[in-house]
Amino acid sequence: MTDFLQFNGISKGYPGVQALSDISFSVRKGAVHGLMGENGAGKSTLIRLLSGDQSADAGEIRIDGQPQHYCSVRDAFQAGVIVIHQELQLVPELSVAENLWLGRFPGKGGVINSRTLIETVRQKLAEIGIDVDPSTKVGQLSIGERQMVEIAKAVMLDARVIALDEPTSSLSSRESEILFALIAKLKAKGTIILYVSHRLDEIFRLCDSLTVLRDGKLAAHHPDIGQVTRDQIISEMVGREISNIWGYKPREAGAVRLKVRDLSGSKLPVPISFDVRAGEILGFFGLIGAGRSEMTRLVYGADSRRSGTVEVDGVKVAPDSPPQSIRSGMVLCPEDRKHDGIVQGRSIEENIAISSRRHFSPFGILSPRKEADLADTFIARLKVRTPSRKQDIINLSGGNQQKVILGRWLSEQGVKLLIIDEPTRGIDVGAKSEIYEILYDLAAGGMAIVVISSELPEVMGITDRIMVMCQGRVAADIPRTEFDERRILAAALPDTSPVAAAQS
């Protein structure tokens, strides 16, 4: 049991931020090592240094005792270090086999030997137990399968160290199981897995050892994960005790604010009806593909309705028009922040003011002073961590981006209904509590809130009522007093409720 992967006194700074300072820890051969920390704690930076994408200001990485001086991703490949990012790096138009060989196609004189190509990959995939046809185009695979292919690519390159950055964030639980089995196999081969995750249950299940980062410093290193408790890790991450991260507060529900009747669209063929009351937090739970996000997009008018009506405070909302929805008092924080939420390349200030500026821009002419005040107000109120309101939003961590989008809507006037899809995906524990706190405050102020989440503990923790969706239908509607993990899960799983499906 030697220390195979070593970080010695790693430091890295960016203008205005010391992202990492003096990080030292080591990982044994054949270990799955967890890396935890809040967003902005320095995990991503550390992974970036390991991947060769950037180089450290001080300190060194040693593999098998050898100091590594690589300064590009290619060098890192050669050293056997492969990082698998949240955004996968595959070419959708090429087949699985072609993706795995990309950059080093087998063959002579530029002519590809397609049999070698397919067969070697088939062998490799079988060896590590991945059930994917090598001639399928990557674009036709599910996200889970794509991730398997990425890992297979790492195995093909004889990786000695594989770092996985939030691998399960977009996987269903079944896909996650396959991933975990694969990790176990790689571990048996002696590969080091560096596992970055926010999910404590996964960390406890998979990892042998654990490092916790906080504010760019080493908060704790546990060579044996058996000796730590959940609460201990959480307090190491946030630097304070968090007894109950949900902090649920009961509220009185008022009159009906949102009334949805017989709503359907091309991706949601079965009509759906429900109400949300003032002050109520309604949760939508379901597996990926159950139709939750499709439903919210229809309510908000982001996609075209086929049938049905949506009313806010008794007034019908025009279909297919987000601007009209906003004027009716309905706003959406979308699931995919990067694609649907933030406007990259523009400042925090502009991202906050994008919608509400129409209220203080007579004849469409801006008031820079008011816009700046508005941004500063919400940066302070929502505790957005940033050096300045002029910062490009792309430079913020996930939690802070989510807060900016919340700020965008809180700065709007007359918001009656907030729809928030995956409110805390990719967000650390500390920021999670802050976001829940904001939601409770808004609900207490009479807003109706719809929360969509694929994390059951979260939906159960913060909502007043849960509607469970399964295969595009509402499978159950459960008030908080009757919350029961098994009942909710049973309703969400398609196979286990054939009777319910047949009835509706």
């Binding site: 601007p323 994008i354 500026r357 801006l366």
Partner: protein, 316 residues
């Protein structure tokens, strides 16, 4: 070294390079820094400068417009023919503006409403509109009957020809629109992330249609001024204008990927194109070489831009 790098690759890098080039050229090229040459230079960039104002919006919102050259020729043509036919210059100008606006509107509706790629759409309208200009005139230049029409280009205020004033006014107006209005900010937001902007309540379709319609209108202004300067409606006028205008915008730091644009940059881009041409004329460099030089300038500008964005990226 690093401070020089910072200066050249920073926000104002292009302005610095422009100022340097201007000083060097003034000192080395005879007859460059004379009032007459300066006015001639500015007059030579009027068409490019005016059209670049709205092309900037087009590019900033991730769109593209190849039809500007044809629209300039067509609306100039219309202005001349309509004023000859009606005997009223005002009616001629109005007709030109309407025609330019309609071309832009059609572009916008096809691109934004029917979701056809902007490159393809404007490639098609570029040819259609050029065809219309040729059909209307039977392929020949159409002379201006009323000499008052010449006055549009010939008249001067404080010794500076009217077209230059109009160009300057449009620079100011569109600079203001870009930086200080909801329209401008929404344009940049659409270019930054169209789907996020739509979900944030920006009416993306309407915005894009407006941008193209404006582009058509502004082309009509440029077309009228051009017709007045060349004293006739020429169906073959302004060929290749779209490329010069897009070059000037890119030179001025407008990102083809959308979301980034600055009026000062575009003005500098336009002036760099003008100066290069002017200097080559003063030095009696053959016209054929000028194409090569223009192409090289564009390449260098894009390379610089690339360096700049990697420098910015590293900072984040």
């Amino acid at each position: 070294m690093s401070s020089l790098k910072k200066l050249l690759l920073g926000e104002q890098g292009l302005v610095v390079i422009f100022a340097l080039a201007f000083v060097i050229v003034s000192l080395t090229v005879p007859n460059f820094l004379t009032e007459r040459n300066m006015l001639g230079l500015l007059q030579s960039v009027v068409t490019i400068g005016i059209v670049a104002c709205t092309m900037m919006f087009c590019l900033a919102s991730r769109d593209f417009d190849l039809s500007v050259g044809s629209t300039v020729a067509f609306s100039g043509m219309v202005a001349v023919m309509a004023s000859n036919a009606t005997g009223s210059i005002i009616l001629g100008l109005l007709a030109a503006l309407v025609c330019g606006g309609v071309v832009g509107l059609v572009n916008g509706v096809v691109i934004a409403r029917f979701r056809i790629n902007a490159l393809i759409t404007t490639l098609a309208t570029m040819q259609i509109v050029r065809g219309l200009a040729l059909i209307a005139s039977d392929g020949r230049a159409v002379g201006i009957n009323d000499p008052a029409f010449y006055q549009l280009a010939l008249s001067k205020f404080f010794g500076v020809p009217t077209p230059i004033w109009i160009m300057a006014a449009l620079f100011i107006v569109f600079g203001f629109v870009l930086n200080r209005t909801v329209f401008g900010k929404n344009t940049l937001a659409i270019g930054g992330n169209p789907e996020a902007s739509r979900l944030a309540g920006v009416n993306v379709i309407t915005m894009r249609i407006w941008i193209f319609a404006l582009q058509g209108l502004v082309c009509a202004i440029a077309g009228v001024l051009l017709a007045s300067r060349i004293t006739s409606g020429q169906p073959n006028a302004a060929t290749g204008l779209e490329l010069s205008v897009i070059s000037a915008c890119v030179l001025g730091g407008v990102s083809l990927a959308g979301g980034r644009a600055a009026m000062t940059g575009v003005i500098v881009g336009v002036l760099i194109m003008g100066i290069a041409e002017n200097v080559m004329n003063l030095l009696n460099i053959q016209a054929f070489y000028q194409y090569v030089v223009r192409g090289l300038i564009l390449l260098i500008a894009v390379l610089l831009d690339n360096l700049r964005s990697t420098a910015v990226g590293r900072r984040g």
